[in-house]
Amino acid sequence: MKLYVIACDKSGYPALMKGIETGEGTDSVLTVQKIPCLGLVKESLLLETLEKEYDGILLVGCPLDSCYNLDGSRFAERRVHRVNALLQEAGIEKKVFLAFVTAEKTGELQRVLMLARSAFNKEESPT
């Protein structure tokens, strides 16, 4: 599974780095992009990334109600829903995942990574 990770520099990035440092469940992380806030991610950035060889994208950022820029995570959540709906409508087997973490709590990150892994493995095995 090739995953492109976009992380916000307030919580997502430190959490991700912590995960990499301790080696917990980040074996599939490939490219990491650091951005100031998840609200900066627009749909076309997600889709253009998926045009490349990545299977999926993982966004990691602050929890909804404590986003540093107030609405950033909320925007990201809606955009991820929208892009996933577009991909599904078009019958494309790629997906965008979203994990809300804080710099200390990285458990959610592992949960989402596991989810991503199982989603792709399921699709790969039968065909």
Partner: protein, 470 residues
């Protein structure tokens, strides 16, 4: 020859001093090193590239701004390098990884323009907006004790943003203030909506109208339902509710039902009053108001109350002769929208419940909400916060967020979505466009991602690294 600076914020597991000499030869650059142990060495910019190494937690934009300001780096040429990616490998692998990434950083295209971190100190003066003369004076006095002059004009006056400061326009003069203190007021609310048909029975009445009636007439053997849908109901009102309910039950044998989200018993003698009220036969029921339905009875002399109790999830219907609406309070800043001149329409300004924001602030820098006089202890800490804000140096990055004039179609999306209200409309003619005020902009990029015309750009705010799989 191009100059590069490598600055590490903490100890890193690579021997940088040993690496520099061969790196300078390999890449044909001058490399200045600034490590925690030799910070005193003077850096002599300008640099073509700056690499800041540190723990990822300290590499957020605000921190990098600070570093740029301190060492006079151009923020557009600064690259943040997280040291966590390096730790899990052997020393030679680490060096290899670092050199690869260093190469990547060097090979990135030149930003083509220059940026700058500018520091500001807001004007040490506060505008006070509060409903009453008395309250204005109280806040002004307390500010004076902190050594901060203030301004509390009476209307008519208006104010507008001017960078991160505010310009106050009064009848005969104008003044610039660095912060605004807005008193918080309590607004009555009643959030459960009752259908018109039910209201038309005339048996749904406001709490304030109901109170005098209790003394004037008898409610013998009738059923009275109190609706308390708010969470914030002051203890004084609860006390009155207890008294009235008990009086009705004991004097007239009225069946009284109090529907609420929460009963507040923290207050003088409230607990006792609550117990006595229940002993008098008054029923209290906690419900979820979403499940509550009121319908008029056929004869229009009362209402059917349909609800589900929180306790056991049972739904029940009962007939009420009277329904009393008990309001709660909602704390909001004094309404300043009519005197605030801004392009963005402000409907209501409420304080976001967000742990990342300092308490007492609104999503506009420099606007502070000062708790109403009922919470005096909080007021001083709020004013303390204002004082701290005025002392602080504010760092902003110039030249990062830009609107492309040619592309902007003035759809107002960015103006409406910017969480920091940093965008206004520029130009007097018909050919207007959106403008980002860089003093206010927090460089979050929400506007960039919402703009349908792709007209907004943020320079150099993303960093991308390949992480080697283990």
């Amino acid at each position: 020859m191009n100059k590069v600076c490598v600055l590490s914020l903490s100890e890193i597991p690579i021997d940088l001093p040993g690496w520099v000499s061969q790196a300078e030869a390999r890449w044909n650059r001058t490399i200045d090193l600034s490590l925690p142990q030799n910070r005193t060495i003077a850096l002599s910019g300008p640099y073509d590239r700056v690499v800041v190494i540190g723990r990822s937690l300290s590499l957020n934009r605000e921190n990098l701004s600070r570093v740029c300001h301190r060492y006079h780096f151009d923020p557009l040429r600064v690259h943040a390098y997280p040291m966590e990616g390096l730790t899990a490998m052997t020393p030679s692998q680490r060096l290899e990884q670092w050199e690869n990434d260093f190469q990547t950083i060097l090979s990135q295209p030149d930003p083509g323009q220059t940026g700058e971190v500018v520091s500001f100190q807001p004007e040490k003066k506060v505008l006070i907006i509060a409903p009453g003369e008395e309250e204005r004076k109280a806040i002004a006095d307390e500010l004076a004790q902190l050594g901060i002059p203030s301004l509390s004009p009476t209307e008519p006056f208006s104010f507008a943003r001017q960078g991160i400061q505010y310009e106050v326009m009064m009848e005969e003069r104008r003044e610039t203030v660095g912060a605004i203190a807005i008193a918080e007021t309590n607004e009555k609310t009643f959030s459960f909506s009752i259908s018109r048909e039910t209201e038309e029975t005339k048996k749904v009445i406001e709490w304030d109208d109901f109170q005098p009636r209790i003394l004037m007439r008898s409610f013998r053997l009738q059923t009275v339902v109190f609706l308390v849908p708010e969470m914030v109901v002051p203890p004084e009102i609860w006390k009155k509710i207890f008294e009235s309910a008990r009086l009705l039950a004991e004097r007239d044998g009225t069946r009284v039902l109090i529907l609420c989200r929460e009963v507040i018993v923290a207050g003088d003698h409230l607990e006792k009053a609550y117990r006595e009220t229940r002993e008098a036969g008054v029923l209290f029921e906690k419900i979820d108001f979403i499940t509550l339905v009121l319908k008029p009875t056929l004869d229009m002399r009362g209402a059917w109350v349909d609800m589900t109790t929180e306790r056991d999830g049972m739904s029940m219907t009962l007939h009420a002769d009277w329904v009393v609406k008990v309001p709660g309070f909602h704390k909001i800043p004094t309404d300043f929208s009519h005197i605030f001149q801004a392009d963005r329409i402000i409907q209501t300004v409420s304080r976001p419940e967000n742990v990342n924001l300092p308490p007492f602030t609104l999503p506009y820098p420099g606007l502070f909400v000062i708790p109403g006089s009922r919470f005096l202890s909080n007021r001083s800490s709020a004013l303390q916060e204002v004082a701290e804000y005025l002392q602080r140096e504010i760092l902003v990055e110039k030249g990062r967020a830009l609107v492309d004039e040619e592309k902007c179609v003035l759809c107002l999306t960015c103006l409406r979505t910017c969480p920091w209200s940093a965008i206004d409309i520029e130009g007097n003619s018909r050919r207007k466009k959106a403008r980002i005020n860089w003093e206010q902009c927090h460089l979050c990029g929400l506007c960039l991602s919402s703009c349908p015309a792709d007209a907004i750009s943020l320079e150099g705010l993303t960093e991308c690294y390949e992480i080697i799989q283990q």
